[in-house]
């Protein structure tokens, strides 16, 4: 069983809300990025980390992640050097890692090869935001072969039948996109969000993690009422200082403690 699956299932059994942070690979630079991963791991600030591969045309992302991606690309960040950096952490960190990449990055070489490299670097699962259920079969088959899982997304408009089907294929959890729109701060969550998550939980046996737009402790607390876990992206990226890693450590530490309190009390 993958490290990620193990962790997600344990949290689920213990009825603890899972917490994941998203980092843009290679941002603000490769060295700081790897230090951040280590820091989050060492201080137990999150249950797993999503590593985003920067893409030139990220249609599912809002301004914060777009900008961090653009900067990383301009600094020469590539899929391969992010994977090399991640691989170098293999025996040094314990935290599970999830690869988040747009499909074209993975197609730049044979899909077999790019996904094998990801597995080899230590990723437990992949999220491919522009490869919805229905276009996922080939990638899923390869991912299984290389020992990774595929996490599929669900949106507020996904019909019940489709939620059930996605629930069968997505593992170890379902990623519920908490509101219409792209990643980013300042979304409003309301009763409808909670009802919608509850419905998805009822339609599938798998845990439901919620992401897109979770910014404050208050958001996190609200969502934690129903969701099995939460994924925070733009709000984390916003805390990253481009030239002061100590400052970033401090800010992320404070942020994580606040969120942790909010979801686990």
């Amino acid at each position: 069983m993958s490290k990620l699956k193990d962790k997600v299932e344990r949290l689920y059994r213990e009825d603890k809300t899972g917490l994941s942070f998203f980092l843009t690979g290679g941002y603000p630079d490769m060295e700081s990025f790897t230090k951040l991963v280590k820091y989050i791991d060492k201080n137990n600030l999150a249950d797993f980390i999503e590593v985003g591969i920067p893409f030139s045309d990220p249609v599912a992302d809002g301004p914060v992640i777009q900008e961090s991606s653009q900067k990383a690309i301009s600094a020469g960040t590539t899929y391969n050097n992010i994977l090399m950096a991640v691989k170098s952490l293999k025996n040094k960190i314990d935290i599970p890692l999830v690869l988040m990449s747009y499909l074209n990055i993975l197609l730049a070489d044979e899909l077999e090869k790019t996904l094998l490299t990801a597995a080899d670097a230590g990723f437990s699962a992949a999220i491919i935001p522009d490869m919805p259920y229905g276009e996922h079969e080939k990638a899923l088959e390869i991912l299984k072969r290389v020992g990774m899982e595929l996490i599929l997304l669900i949106s507020p408009g996904t019909p019940d039948k489709r939620v059930r089907e996605i629930g069968k294929e997505s593992s170890p959890f379902l990623y519920y996109v908490s509101s219409y729109g792209v990643t980013g701060n300042g979304k409003k969550f309301d009763k409808k969000t909670l009802e919608s998550i509850r419905k998805v939980r009822n339609l599938s046996a798998k845990p439901v993690y919620c992401g897109f737009g979770i910014t404050t402790g208050k958001d996190a607390q609200y969502i934690a009422d129903i969701a099995d876990g939460e994924i925070i992206g733009s709000a984390v990226i916003d805390l990253i200082s481009e030239n002061n890693i100590e400052q970033t450590f401090n800010d992320i530490y404070k942020f994580a403690i606040n969120i942790g309190k909010s979801i686990r009390e």
Binding site: F55, S56, D57, P58, V59, A60, G62, Q66, Q70, I73, T78, Y79, N80, Y102, L103, N104, I105, L106, L107, A108, P129, D130, M131, P132, Y133, G134, E135, E137, K138, L152, L153, I154, S155, P156, G157, T158, P159, R162, V177, Y180, G181, V182
Partner: protein, 381 residues
Amino acid sequence: MDEKYYYGGFGGRYVPESLIEPLNELDRNYKSCKKDKNFQSKLSDILKNYAGRPTPLYLSGALSEYCGCSVYLKREDLCHTGAHKINNALGQGLLAVETGKRNIIAETGAGQHGVATAAAAALFGLKCTIYMGTKDIKRQHNNVVRMKLLGADIVEVQEGDKTLNAAVNATLRRWVQDPENIYYLLGSCVGPHPYPAIVRDFHSVIGKEVKEQIPDRPDVIVACVGGGSNSIGIFTPFFKDKNIRFVGVEAEGCASLSKGKVGVLHGAKSYLLYDKNGQIKKTHSIAPGLDYSGVGPEHSFYKERSRAEYVNINDSEALKAFRWLSKNEGIIPALESSHAVAWVMKEKWNGGQKVVINLSGRGDKDIDEIFSMEEIKREYE
């Protein structure tokens, strides 16, 4: 993978999950309108009395003499708003009306699709927002003013390559936020299924008219390819006649079909220009409507099956054809269409051939940009 979303191995629906239901809805609505006699007769009426169809098929004396064969121009430049784009804008605009969507968004490169969409929105009384890259806003200023006059809001897209690519990204992001209320009026035969099919169908009126207008049948049909809508529109009705040669002319700096690899962008698997790391390449063309890194999936299918040839023309060849046709035929072609003209002028022909060029648009929009080039300005002074 659902075969019906594909052309051979190309196409599909590579979009965020939030857009799957809206695309299903669009697919259902389009299918029912396509069958609906009432919808079709409304559309034909508007195409005839508002857009000015059928457009003439003109046997160009100057080009025929230059090339030594019969060269016909399909005069899409005479359409209302100045390009073929109006066929699709009116078709999809009517679709939006019939399905109760009153809020239209669209991307534009050259501004032709933006102007056509803004006109359709004004005609149907819809709210219209156009996304356009900073670079294109500068070089197609005239069209920006036209869109404003027609009542559209313009959103300047400053990210990415600041041209069509970035405009599509921004429009998709906007659509994801409110797919229930917004109708995305996509301007070329690109994007996720069913867009490539919808856009093709609304433009196939071009080829259907040519079929009726040309004495006998054409030997060669030539059209410029940006996303590929004017070309697919003139090719489609002749698809089954394998003896007719199809030529798609790309701009040299954005030749996804002749120089790209298969990849995924803006919802479809198709030929695409990207670097070895998978990042989409920034393109360049003097013709903003061709300045795009991808191409419609059906063209990738045509290429793979060798049903069409795809060639490319550089900026200076296109500019030469632009000036030549203006001076010798009295027709100022769009810089996009000038690529098709340039290829025909370059090619060797034997006397008996009938060549049809799809003159996709008129060049009024390009005049300011061209006259900002010092060497050209001087020549005409």
